[in-house]
């Protein structure tokens, strides 16, 4: 019996390459089916499912407090912001107002998470375009943030700091001084990032005009976060739908119009400056008082549908809960930024070279567990 299917859309000089599931540039178990002619990309087909863990299904089985512990395993580089998203959804559904102190600390930790994530992204991006040194510089700065997290809540990566009703613990006595020390440190190191990579001629040649995404395409593919903003699409959830303490701070939404790989790079670099300024505005004004309000041991959401979105380091994360009034959700759906950003990879990569694909994929900042839930 004939089992092999012959795709007639291929020319004889084109060939397939499996980039992944284990490949240095996919940063996780993502498989890309590339159709290449020489070095020119003809088609990119992402193949997902290699680390699928049914997290959404598991959420339906768990209580709302337990769900928090699953969310940080999604986008593990924005774990705190993921926690916050579910907490906000639950709090809004319950109509609970959490203390100001918790709001401010959540925002500070969220911005620290964003910086840590961007540091890692920057290091890895450098590695993807062949500059290995960036990796270590990014990690050096990220390490300071991880230390702060470790002291605050005991975890360095998969944090569980938020819970419905506020925070799990109060901040550590060293928290404020360490965050301030980090800001001073990072303000002196960020220009180093520019010296090493941003201003490098080879890097600019590799990224400018590469992987261009128009504003229309960005909107139609559902791009969010720095990917959308680099194409001129104003989509910062922190600006349009402020949550926690974000309405108390002033910050710029970084917008670029080029939509190429370099623009996406610049947006993230400039975002790190903005995040630093957000933290600076809040760190001296953490209100005194309680850090949580008491909630029931078994949270039961009222009947209905609830949606909450937040801005993670990668873009808009939405949490959609359908509740039937029981102690666990009837259905819980995450709208992850990575999935829609991955969907536009074919759009921006076709016609480019293999090297371009790696560079533009790096600026999409994919975290595979976030895509493969």
């Amino acid at each position: 019996m004939e089992t092999a299917t012959v795709n007639t859309n291929f020319k004889s000089e084109e060939y397939f390459i499996n980039m992944g599931p284990q490949h240095p540039a996919t940063h996780g178990v993502l498989r890309l089916l590339l159709t290449i002619d020489g070095e020119v990309i003809k088609k990119v087909e992402p193949d997902l499912g290699y680390i699928h863990r049914s997290i959404e299904k598991m959420c339906e089985r768990n209580s709302y407090q337990q769900i928090i512990h699953l969310t940080d395993r999604l986008d593990y580089l924005s774990s705190h912001i993921n926690n916050e998203a579910v907490c906000l959804a639950v709090e809004n559904a319950l109509g609970v107002e959490i203390p100001e102190r918790a709001k401010v600390v959540r925002t500070i930790i969220g911005e620290l998470t964003r910086i840590a994530s961007h540091c890692l992204w920057w290091g890895v991006l450098g590695m993807d375009v062949g500059a290995l040194t960036t990796y270590f510089y990014g990690f050096r700065d990220r390490e300071m943030i991880n230390d702060i997290f470790e002291e605050t809540c005991g975890a360095r990566l998969t944090m569980n700091y938020s819970l419905p009703g506020g925070l799990m613990f109060d901040i550590h006595p060293n928290f404020i001084s360490r965050v301030k020390a980090f800001i001073t440190h990072f303000r002196s190191k960020l220009p180093e990032y520019d010296t090493l990579l941003t201003n490098n001629v080879i890097f600019q040649k590799r990224t400018k005009g590469v992987g261009v995404l128009s504003k229309e395409a960005a909107i139609s593919y559902g791009a969010s976060g720095p990917v959308g903003r680099a194409s001129g699409y104003s989509c910062d959830v922190r600006k349009h739908h402020p949550y926690s303490a974000l309405n108390k701070v002033t910050f710029k939404e970084i917008l670029k119009t080029e939509g190429d790989t370099f623009a996406r790079y610049q947006v993230r670099i400039e975002e790190m400056w903005e995040s630093l300024s957000i933290i600076e505005q809040l760190i001296d004004n953490i209100p005194e008082g309680n850090f949580q309000v008491a909630t029931d041991a078994v949270i039961k959401l009222p009947k209905g549908e609830f949606y909450q979105k937040v801005e993670t380091a990668r873009g808009e994360l939405g949490v959609f809960i359908i509740s039937t009034g029981t102690k666990n959700p009837y259905r819980l759906k995450f709208r992850s930024p990575g999935l829609s950003n991955l969907s536009l990879l074919n759009h921006i990569a076709v016609g480019g070279k293999v090297g371009d694909l790696v560079a533009s994929m790096a600026t999409l900042d994919l975290v595979i567990p976030d895509i493969d839930r």
């Binding site: 375009v129 062949g130 500059a131 040194t133 990579l197 080879i202 040649k205 590799r206 070279k353 090297g355």
Partner: protein, 354 residues
């Protein structure tokens, strides 16, 4: 009297006294081969260690200071690991070509070492077409890479090999032409004569502007020819996994690895010989101590090696079309104009001599 000359004459006399001349010359050849192989192995190990240390300084790494005193045993551990690893291979690979490939790469690197004048008489093979010989040899190495890519039956390896083909063959031109520019001053292709000309000033000084240009072109093209960053598209670990040597393990991989470092050393050695007076000391300060020649040679080579490592740990990688654009649209025309400029300089006797 030069110490290396004394040593070789003494050995020659000793061997001639106890065996017939034909046997003696064969034994001498074997001895020289052993000396060079030892040099090859030690230089390879040292360069690996140096690269690790340079990388550590650039990248805030702590690792290479841990094994033995200041990490000096690190490469010994590395070498032991590589030797003891299993030699794996792919089932559907072209076994013959797959196994042959590393030898092409390593043998060319070894052969090229023979003509380099390390010190006064520390040169195994002083032929009158030394420069030509080295250029010819360096183009054989690419065959090894092409065979490795083809023989592995792996698409990533194949892309790496195709890249290697276009890259090495293109940059070969620039290396050759920039060396040719310097040959215009020396009027000889023999390395020992090229060195002698520099007693009146290093060639980079004698040839001033065109020589500096030629040196810059040579260093760029030389880095590209050794497949090192920012021209490491042949390996391109983030794009192709490991490029042409994806399917090689253990000692076979080590051959490629070692050859890369030795090639780097050869590129630096040729630059030292052709631009910086080889084993001659600056301003002849140690002219009365010719055995210091090796020291000066290695010191100058190390500076250039450091430069190449500096490139590697700071620059991102070029894309294949940019790599070819750089060579064919910029370096090659510049090189051709530079040759004319150098010819004018030599013709009008504008060279600087002390």
């Amino acid at each position: 009297m030069n110490i290396s000359l004394t040593l070789s004459e003494k050995t020659h006399e000793l061997l001639s006294a106890i065996m017939p001349p034909s046997v003696a010359s064969i034994v001498e050849m074997i001895l020289i081969a052993v000396v060079y192989l030892t040099f090859f192995a030690i230089a390879g190990l040292f360069l690996v260690l140096l690269e690790r240390k340079v990388a550590a300084r650039f990248q805030l790494r702590l690792g290479p200071n841990r094994v033995g005193f200041q990490g000096w045993f690190q490469t010994v551990a590395d070498a032991l690991k590589l030797v003891s690893k299993e030699l794996t291979g792919t089932v559907k690979a072209d076994k013959f070509l797959y196994n042959l490939a590393p030898y092409f790469v390593i043998i060319t690197a070894l052969m090229a070492l023979a003509v380099i004048p390390f010190a006064g008489y520390f040169q195994a093979f002083d032929i009158n077409i030394g420069v030509l010989f080295i250029i010819a040899l360096s183009s054989i190495g690419v065959i090894g890479i092409l065979l490795a890519g083809w023989g592995s039956n792996n698409k990533f390896a194949m892309i790496g090999a195709m890249r290697s083909g276009v890259q090495t063959i293109s940059y070969e031109l620039s290396v050759g032409l920039s060396l040719l520019t310097m040959i215009l001053i020396t009027g000889s292709l023999q390395f020992s004569e090229i060195v002698e000309v520099q007693r009146n000033g290093w060639l980079i000084v004698q040839g001033h502007i065109p020589a500096v240009l030629a040196f810059m072109i040579y260093m760029i093209a030389g880095t590209a020819e050794t497949n090192r960053a920012p021209f490491d598209l042949v390996e391109a670990e983030s794009e192709l996994g490991a490029g042409f040597h994806t399917e090689y393990s253990g000692m076979k991989f080590a051959y490629f690895f070692l050859a890369e470092f030795i090639n780097m050393f050869i590129i630096a050695s040729i630059a030292v010989t052709v631009f910086f007076g080889a084993y001659l000391s600056p301003f002849g300060i140690t002219e009365s101590l010719p055995w210091l020649g090796l020291f000066w040679f290695l010191a100058k080579a190390l500076v250039l090696l450091f430069l190449m490592m500096w490139f590697r740990w700071t620059f991102p990688r070029l894309r294949i079309d940019q790599l070819l654009t750089l060579e064919w649209k910029y370096l090659l025309p510049l090189n051709l104009m530079n040759i004319v400029l150098m010819a004018v300089v030599v013709w009008l006797k504008l060279t600087i001599q002390f």
